[in-house]
Amino acid sequence: MLFLEAAPASAPTIDEAILWAIMLCPLVAWGLIAIYVRKIPVAAGYLAILGVGAACVLSYVTLFNVMDADGGIAIHSHEWFSAGDLVVNLGVRVDGLTAVMLVVVTTVAFLVQVYSTGYMQGDAGYGRYFAHMCLFTVSMLGLVLADNLFQMFIFWELVGLCSYLLIGFWFHKPSAAAAAKKAFIVTRIGDLGLLAALLLVWTRAGTFDVTAIQEWATSGEPEGYIVTLFALGLFAGAAGKSAQFPLHVWLPDAMEGPTPVSALIHAATMVAAGVYLVARFFPVFEASHDAAQFVAWIGAITALVAATIALVQTDVKRVLAYSTISQLGYMMLALGTFGYVAAIFHLFTHAFFKALLFLGSGSVNHATNTFDMRQMGGLKKYMPVTYWTFIIGSLSLAGIFPLAGFWSKDEILLDAWRHDRALWAIGLSVAFMTAFYMFRAIFLTFHGEYKGGQPVDHHDEDSHFHGDPAHPHESPWAMKGPLIVLSVPAIAAGWLAYDHLFKDFIEAALPHAESHGSTFEIGIAISSSVVAVAGIGAAWAVYMKRWVTSESIRATFAPFAIIFENKYYLDRIYEDLFVRTIFHRGWNALLQANDRYVVDGIVNGSGRLAREASSRLRVIQTGQVQSYGLGIVAGVIIIAVAVITANPL
């Protein structure tokens, strides 16, 4: 064991053992659950909570240690493998970025585990569920802690594998199995890019070390196009995991997994991995402006596309899924416009309010046995805690002052404004749509009349529903608790922007301490706030008006009826003509075509090609000894001719 790098001057005084323990705690829990307690489900839940909880505590310890050191970097690295001049290390790296990610991952994972003990109660795969969740957390922590690209890649793939297992958790449901497969394959397409980047850096730089790669990319030693290719390879991997256009298609389908899984995947782990990767290699993107430009535009397109789709979804979970994609687009947009701090800040705040929203939707599902908003309505009075926490999460997501989302979204828009007005305009329109669709969801779900939910089908063995959808009730404390706890950071996490607290902390992780912009600017703040409020107002006008048009009110306020009718008519135009015809048939059809023909086409096409080729090749495998012998002789002759032609005597 050798220490490769002495810690820099302001290194956090943090014991290496603690860092490894962060990863090991959930790993041990996973091992115990996998080996012993599959039969005793209750123990599995508690064990998982214990393991992730311990990791969570240690992560906070790490965070405070790093804060004490003003965000200094500590690296502990050991030689794991060496072949010639290639050395692969096994190491951990801690800096501001890592510490923030650790805290986000473990906090959300911990709360999700607690929540899951309620949500997954009575499921046949209870033990398996917690084992997978633990392993998922481990992979994510390993990814964040890794000090070299190689180790990162291993955990990166492990994250992919775990997501496959969790999305396909109810694998006897064909839709779940298909969704898991889709997620696995689509992210794998992106991973090919990451693998190419890995090979590139291996051949060109001869190292996998994060610091060394950052230095290599910024040193000006490699040709510009090499750095750009490397950056684009990294981004391809990130686009797969973080669901960027056009690889976003797996994420909405990933809703087939249990809802807490969606919360974990969307808020803290899998989708954050891509953003983290780009942020980790941020200096590489700075060194290649072409790559950064590309990232920014893909991010903007993703944000826009996903937001437009979210407008017309009827499934609350899908609204949230598209909203996640849209917010990830924001983060990439920020990274592409060199808003390193803004992106991570948004990742940080988004983790909390999006986890809150997902858990909220799970709570609603727990009461109504459905995610279809058309079967809900009026849940406000049955589920006050869920309602109010959902409101908090939505306001935060919409970017309303002074909630968390306001601060981070603002920084992103500011960076976009400074970089490119077109990007800023897209960002602003997305902000409007975000506010609109979130409050549309709230009005449809919690306001109005309750429409009865989805009746329980007692013949459906896959159904895990207990209770009566006709009489919805608030969820148990195991589920309410995490909602309440999460609403605190959903409100307050943004206040860390005060006095550049978050910014200074995060920026220390970069090799060069030049400032990356993004302070507060009142003009941007006002414009985005106005847009967000307008979005909420629009949603209110459209969807609450529908309530207004109900029969009794119509009789009382007869003179206003025509206006309401007209409003209703506009609403219909909006829903039917504008949305359904233009968006659904046109825009969405285009997106679906991308989904079906481009993505599925590549996936199925390559499979079909291989099968086709092998059935053709089977012809030579006749079973005849003499044709095999002929093959050998023909091989000899062909090789001889080829060699002599290529290199004449």
């Binding site: 089977r618 495998q621 006749t622 079973g623 005849q624 000894v625 003499q626 002929l630 002789v633």
Partner: protein, 104 residues
Amino acid sequence: MSVGIEHFLTVGALLFCLGLAIALSKRNAIGVLMGVELMLNAVNLTLITFSRFAVSERPITGQAFAVFIITVAAAEAAVALALAVSVYRNRETVDVDQLNLLRS
């Protein structure tokens, strides 16, 4: 014209090709085996030729090699016949083009 190394080598090469042609065309497994024997004998001829004409130092090596090849060929032939008998018991034929239970 005296008979020299080229002639021996040419005969060896031709013999090898003939053996190969037999091995790849005879239907009967025993016939294939005889083709292989012919190839091995071609190798022997080549080795002996080299040791007689081309090698000045320790020419015995080539001859020893040839003797080993003869021995091994005998062992191989014995095993081949045993396997052919075993195939014949199962299938009542030793035609190699009938040996196609295992394919694709």
